[in-house]
């Protein structure tokens, strides 16, 4: 027992898995107890069974479509932000002139919450797909650029200097050292921002949409159908954790050389 309480020491993978699963099981148990023993009103906390039944019913009635459309919005906004943000962040992280020009501006925008832009995006982009994608983009872009810049700047100077003493020219240092050294951090930033993208798509859909998981939750709310709301919320959680695990698996595949498992 003692050996599992050492600070920051690794534990067997099996134990890790068991502990992770038991946390979910415990939550489910508490939920069920809250309903049966605690007598919480089902209109506030529907029993797990009712939620499961609602999930099955919704699965054949639009849930898949809503997942699809939300997924599309998230992915598009995310890829757009990454396509511009990753190169820009790397540029800012490796060239001081680029940092001086962009960093204060982006830091300024970062403090304006994406949700505050929603009315404006509706005027600019109407309420079509572009508007939802726009909210996702605004929500993650500025943070993403600044985080990528940070990752790039944190590449150890000694590695860069080593390359110079081995005869590399600036562009070679960039391609052969800076990029590979920054790549794991870049992938991790993408993983984190993808999670945020899910938050912003739901915000956008709660306000102005007639499809998507946010709309499903909003609509269920209007009809006071708590089980449906639960299904919507839980689905987002499940999708989030799937994305996260996929990213982690990809990183393990891409970076077998990392000291620490990602």
């Amino acid at each position: 027992m003692r050996k599992y309480l050492k600070l920051n020491a690794p534990i067997p993978g099996k134990l890790y898995f068991i502990l992770s699963v038991s946390a979910f099981a415990l939550l489910l148990l508490l939920w069920q107890l809250g309903v049966t023993v605690g007598h919480l009103p089902p209109s506030h906390l529907p029993p797990p069974g009712a939620v499961a039944r609602a999930a099955v019913a919704l699965a054949t009635d639009g849930l898949i479509g809503d997942i699809g459309i939300s997924f599309f919005r998230v992915t598009t906004g995310f890829l757009l932000a990454a396509a511009i943000g990753v190169p820009l962040g790397i540029l800012m992280g490796s060239l001081k002139v680029a940092e001086a020009f962009f960093e204060p501006l982006l830091a300024f925008f970062r403090y304006m919450p994406a949700s505050a832009f929603i009315p404006l995006t509706i005027i600019w982009l109407s309420i079509f797909e572009a508007q939802k994608i726009g909210v996702v983009f605004i929500g993650i872009f500025f943070q993403l650029v600044l985080m990528i810049m940070d990752v790039t700047q944190n590449v150890p100077q000694d590695l860069i200097d080593t390359a110079y003493t081995l005869g590399a020219r600036p562009l070679e240092v960039f391609r052969r050292v800076l990029l590979p050294a920054a790549l794991p951090g870049i992938m991790d930033t993408l993983r984190v921002t993808l999670g945020w993208a899910w938050t912003y798509v739901i915000v956008a859909e709660l306000v102005a949409a007639n499809s998507g998981l946010g709309f499903l939750i909003m609509n269920a709310g209007r009809q006071l159908s708590t089980p449906d709301m639960f299904v919507g919320i839980l689905t987002i959680g499940v999708l989030g954790i799937i994305c996260d695990m996929a990213f982690k698996a990809l990183n393990r595949l891409l970076f077998p050389w990392l000291e620490r498992e990602v």
Partner: protein
Amino acid sequence: MALAAEPGISGNKLAVVNLTREFNFKHRKITAIQGISLEVKEGEFVTILGPSGCGKSTLLRIIAGLTEASSGQVYKDGRLIQGPGRDRGMVFQSYTLFPWLTVRQNIEFGLNLKRVEADRRHEIVNHYLDIIGLTAFADAFPKSLSGGMKQRVAIARALANDPDILLMDEPFGALDAQTRLVMQELLLKIWEETRKTILFVTHDVEEAIFLGDTVYIMTARPGRLKARIPVPLSRPRSFEIKNSRVFLELKTSILEQIREESLKAATMMPAGCD
């Protein structure tokens, strides 16, 4: 203005002329090194001994072309040095293997930049893998190497690139005493074979004497050269020499000379009292 005709600049592998470097630190000027001049002959093994913070790394970085001098010049083969280049290889104080490359790929990094063809590249890498005794680890990533193994690869990587001068900044500083001894002997063995010109920085007196033809002693910050001491020990050397009378006498005399410097360094404020 130092002219190339000045004695010492031509005829020597390396000539450092009146080198000074200042840093700005919290709105104050710190002089890291001041007025350092030294000459290194082709094939000479020079060790530089100095207390922590006396500017040893700064000196090597300027010679490598990674840091600019505030004043003074460095000449290699009579030509002014103006930036980093593959003619001056460097082994750093910290571990600097590229973690995403295997041991083999690390060693051939410079050869790839030079576009050396595959056959020749393999030959060179295998040669150095053999010398450092890590052939079995050729395809391992640096994460699975010990500190001593990492520095061995770093040395092989620098040597495979065939530099004129090898700059070594406390490469064994982070290693335990036994590994350090093994590494010193290995380095001497490699040097006997290649006869590279080496500038080796350390704060370990025994290491400086054991390795060097010439030992330079630096003062505490601002770092100046305090003494130049030729080492009259015959080559090739093995570790037994550390118990010889000549070695021990040299050690005592050098220890006396650096004792006051170390005391100064230890009582100095971090922002410097220059």
